[in-house]
Symmetry: C2
Subunit: 393 residues, 2 copies
Amino acid sequence: MTGILLRNIRPLGGPSVDLAIRDGRIEAMAEGLSADGLTVEEGDGAICVPGLVEAHTHLDKTVMGMGWYANAVGTDLRAMIDNERAERRRLGLDVGRQAMRHALALVGNGTTHVRTHVDVDTENGLDGLRDVLSLRGVLDIQIVAFPQSGLMIRPGTAELLDQAMAMGADLVGGLDPCAVDRDPKGHLDTVFALADRHGAGVDIHLHEPGEMGAFSLELICERTRALGMAGKITVSHGFCLGMPDARRTEALIDGLAALDIAVMTTGAPSREVPSVPRLRARGIRMGAGCDGVLDTWNPWNRPDMLDRARIVAQKNNMRSDADLAAVLDLCSSGGARAIGIEGHGLTEGAPADLALLPGETLAAAVAQGGPVLMTLKGGVVAARRGKALMEAP
Amino acid sequence: MTGILLRNIRPLGGPSVDLAIRDGRIEAMAEGLSADGLTVEEGDGAICVPGLVEAHTHLDKTVMGMGWYANAVGTDLRAMIDNERAERRRLGLDVGRQAMRHALALVGNGTTHVRTHVDVDTENGLDGLRDVLSLRGVLDIQIVAFPQSGLMIRPGTAELLDQAMAMGADLVGGLDPCAVDRDPKGHLDTVFALADRHGAGVDIHLHEPGEMGAFSLELICERTRALGMAGKITVSHGFCLGMPDARRTEALIDGLAALDIAVMTTGAPSREVPSVPRLRARGIRMGAGCDGVLDTWNPWNRPDMLDRARIVAQKNNMRSDADLAAVLDLCSSGGARAIGIEGHGLTEGAPADLALLPGETLAAAVAQGGPVLMTLKGGVVAARRGKALMEAP
């Protein structure tokens, strides 16, 4: 395997250098590197950033390319869950095809790593999981076996999650132990026991607001401590962390920090959300995600981490150039740390997972968004000008 | 003056028709209209919507095309105000040129009507106003003479506002009577007296949150009633209307409804905001705006009302197809009513101010955003594929 010489690129918007890639890794970054058998790609002064990291999505849900999905279901969580199961059948949603479309759109937009939740329930069983598992060659995909329709309220789901982990899912998922499953102790005992048995991590959807969510979060912390699972747990959304009482949330943040629990945010505009600057300042590992894209839930999300950076930043009132650099980190190297990927960044020896962005400065590139000029995954050009080179089905 | 036959367009996503434009107005909408001396434009099944209405922006602030503005000022309102005045000088911001760039970008993105605030202060005087007034041929522009740097705290500003109205500004502006001007009675008495003297309306920036904003809003209502100015007053932002206590905000909304006070929203993701569905259900005239675009305040806003529709909808958790139609109305016909423009819509006899959007359904067109295929202003093609036909300076 030879490699690539990216000529005239600006790491994080700094001075122009050449970047040599060999055997899938960054070999050197300096001015005037020799091509030495490498394929030269002209960067033309583009800004080079670590590949973007989609830390919270649902590859198994999108209806991209299937015609417009007319949404009439409203915004009640349980109604939306039931609607989705029914519509999956009615639309004949082919998870393998749809997940590939979604994944390739992410690649086109500069993404090199994805953590996706995949529905596991007593109606659809493990079919969706099987389909998403088959995508692993396309980009780095971590899979959370996700009891979207509930766990304690749907007997048989725990057994399916157990099988999902045996099949190769990476993490055990969970969902609103109080609000959806109506049995926080049962739900969390089950989720943590499964994770413990499989030596895996946990990533729990926690939409519960205010004190209900705080209660669930305390139960999560208790189990993390009791089972010695510090560093292996993730809370997604964590809306309770955005409640206005700063003393109350400080206690919750203390718990997260003590147990190295990561937090994923979508910057949900209509909800209270965890403060990105506040949690990052406390050293809490945070990532960002676009959530489900063009699905039966919501028409607004796009498979585009620069678009998500904008949404998260606006929600958090981040607007200075320093803020923009921080939100880019959240969506790249910071997000990688949050999902447990080490060594993701612009350093010699690191995997050559990169994105080239247009723009005058790093902040300009983040603010202006795509199209991303080039995505490199493991040292291979995977996308140009916003389009993955692999054809979508 | 002849006209245009738009062949095969779908009004609001409905069945395909032809749309005949003569003398700047919609003459007929029906299947198989004869061209009869009209210039034929093929719509190819595009969705036709009333021209988009930018109901709250600042044409005099953008640095579009001037290189990246590195923002280091933080988020304190007074600091941002002072920073902007200093940076205007340092950058040599040419308001005429910049406002034209901003306006043409809006036209490219389907906008046919704009209400802009223009800074009037003792440092910059009336120069910005003069520059923006000269743009009125390009598109319909309403101008609010805006005391951005304060009114009571900067003696001489009231006199400048008076001159601004004499020069042709349409409305008297105001800004946070408590939080910025520290004298709510003095501020509002001055603003309303000026408006009363010039027979003009008022559009007040009200960022004040919670009870402070509610207090200012009550003072606005009192003056609107006392001076018989119902239907002529606008509150921009109105963050206090988003405070959580629904009984408290119901009383405020009652006041707005009784006095036909309009509300402009940007759907500010980081703030509490007035609920679009709730206020519209009460019959309150609402419009939406992108606010300042790429200026010393904020790098995120774009001169694009479809982008703003998305931001407002996400903030308000509007996601069904019916919601998407409502948010389009907010950004077109509803916004026109909010800024006092009658007869803006797809009806025979209405001015031919239109936008053609790509998309399968109306909801899809709104969710997917631009580029807008064509903008027509007064029956003339003003933009194609996202670009105004008039060259930007």
